[in-house]
Every structure is written in C-alpha cells, then in structure tokens.
Symmetry: C2
Subunit: 196 residues, 2 copies
C-alpha cells in the first residue's frame, strides 16, 4: 500500500552551511545543523511559509504568502565539479551558491524525482520539491574570485544546480552522515512528454 | 528560471467533501470548502503535521510527528467510473472513499507528476504529493450498498485511487470551479527505471 519506496541510493554529507542574511553570499559553513519544521535553524530562507518570489510568478503574485518548499538547497559535489569544469575555473565553493547540504555519491542529484525523500539514519527527513534553477547571483561571488568568469555560471550550472527541499521530520545533521533516497513508486504521467 | 510550468490541462470540480471523524466513512459532501495552511477546514486529516501511519512505516515509526502531505485526496470522476465498472457495480460515490475533491477532465489524474500543483482561478493552490494507494476501508462501505462486492474495491481501484495533496496557498473552492495543472519542468531521473 506504500507509494514511497526506499532505494539503495545514498549520498554522503560532505558540507553543510547556512545563508545568514537575505541575498548575502557566501553562506557560512558548519559542521552540524539542526533542522526543525521551519528548516535549518538560523537560515534566512527558513519558515513554514514564505513570500512568493520571482521564481513562481506564473503561479503567485510577488509577496503572496505560500508554503515554503525552498527551506534548503541540496547540491551534488560531483555536479559542482562539473560546473566548475564547464566554467573553466579550478573550483566552486558551496558557500558561493548559498548551499545548505552538499552530497557526494548521489547520482544525477539535480533530477531526483520530485516528491522524493532524503532520510538520515537519525530519521531526519527532507522532501525534495524539484530541480533548482540557476540565477545570476552566485556568478557575482565567483566573479570576485575568478574575474571574467562569473557570467559563465548561469549557463554552466544548468541541470547541475541541485534541488530545493523542506523538512518533513526534524533532526540534526552532521558532516559525514549519509542520506538515503526514497522515491514515489509510480509510473510516469501519460501526458508528461506532451505537457513539457 | 522557473522550474514549475503551467500547462493547459484543467479539471472541473464536480464534488467536494470532508471526513468529519477519524476512520468514519462515508464523508460529508459540501458545495464549497475553505482551505487554510492546515488543509480543508473541519477535515479530520487536517493539520500542518500528523502522526505517521501505516503507509510510511518504511520511513517513520508509527506515531512520529511528520509534515502532513495527506491533508486532502483528489480523485478523478472518470477513474471512479472505471473502478465501478471493474467492480461490476453501477456506481461508487466519492463519500464512500473519503474524497475531498473530485475532478472531471483531468487525464490520468492518479499519475499526475509528484510535486505538481493544482491551482484555482482564485489562487488557491494544492501541492500533489504522490499517488494514493487503495486500502480496504472503502470496500466495507461499498459492501453495505452492494453485498459481496466490497472486497473487489482494493484491486479494482489500483492505479485509480487519485492523489494525496496539501495546501500551498489558502483559499475557497466551490463546485464548478476549475483547477489548472502546473508541472515540474524537468527530465526524468536517469536511474528511475532501475530504482523502481
């Protein structure tokens, strides 16, 4: 009867951090984070609800109070490396992107099935809302470190910008923990190809 | 930059109702419902959080407080008719299934993409968590109306039991309103076939 199926895919937590002030990057790295139903404690993007932003203008007027499905962003260490390679820079630090969690070992992380869950051994659980899309903001931070390269970020990060997520079950996460993937065990919607 | 894409697929609201007491079916039909961030007002499955149930035993011990992504269930009028046909009964009323909303005209509703949104013209928005799976409970109600047929419900409703959903943006819904489908505009996870 369960529609949510555990898989054998895991990702190891290699980095944690928080954005402390709205629009201010880099974020601050941390060895451990507490997650409540409001998101990562101290993170500026926390809260059960949030004012609608430019990303959802097709659905909501800016500022409308909506449920917050962007409490945190989860990135792939491998995809970050690919983005750096595509930009022609030696590395991109997660704090430049305002990341919350960086995982190593989770394949094709940016395209994880929407409504997937990522669960730590402690029981802490995140709901994956969907793919995150790159904006220009991290490019400005990268520009400070690698002049003339910042504008390459948005195209280079396409399909590699990780996912946005929110807290389904609270708990503490520490660098070195592992997150297990659970997926909606259902076939594709029959009109998916047509609707996209 | 938006990952959530409006489509031209709509469903017309042909029925609304609420379960008033835990485990008690049939539910009560209604011409209109108010939805807050807690779900449909007066619905026993409401709340921002809920105690984990048998459906998520692979993720959470029973009774664990988790976010409530099962505030409401949305069914397809066409799929309900197909289930009735498969059971060999003339009709199945939505109240026998504890439905919240029945839509007409939304194709393949039970397999809508997880993390899709359904939005009314008023702005009221639901997040589709994923497919709902049939349990035996509605079969007992059907049994009272069509003796010897109730046990057929669970297999007959497989793949036609609608979706579970929760409120992203509050508002009022009235029979006759229309809900528009918005989908995550991203390709399939590359390991989906293998993980299922």
């Amino acid at each position: 009867m369960a529609a949510l199926k555990p898989t054998n895919y895991h990702g190891d937590v290699v980095w944690l951090g928080r954005v402390m002030h709205e629009g201010v990057l880099p974020s601050e790295a941390s060895e451990a984070l507490e997650f409540t139903f409001d998101g990562p404690e101290g993170e500026v993007h926390g809260g059960r609800t949030r004012p609608a932003c430019a990303r959802v203008l097709d659905q909501h007027p800016r500022g409308t109070e909506i449920a917050n499905v962007r409490q945190l962003t989860i990135l792939s260490a491998e995809e970050l490396a690919e983005t750096a390679f595509a930009m022609g820079v030696p590395e991109i630090l997660p704090e430049w992107l305002g990341a919350t969690i960086v995982l190593r070992g989770m394949p094709d992380l940016t395209h994880l099935p929407p409504s997937s869950r990522l669960q730590a051994e402690s029981g802490l659980t995140f709901v994956v809302d969907m793919e995150n899309r790159p904006c220009v903001l991290p490019g400005r931070v990268i520009e400070e470190h690698f002049p003339e390269k910042g504008a390459r970020f948005k195209p280079a990060a396409s399909g590699r910008r990780g996912v946005t997520a929110w807290v389904e079950r609270p708990g503490r996460l520490v660098v070195g923990d592992s997150l297990r993937l659970h997926i909606p065990d259902q076939r594709a919607w029959e009109l998916m190809a047509e609707a996209r």
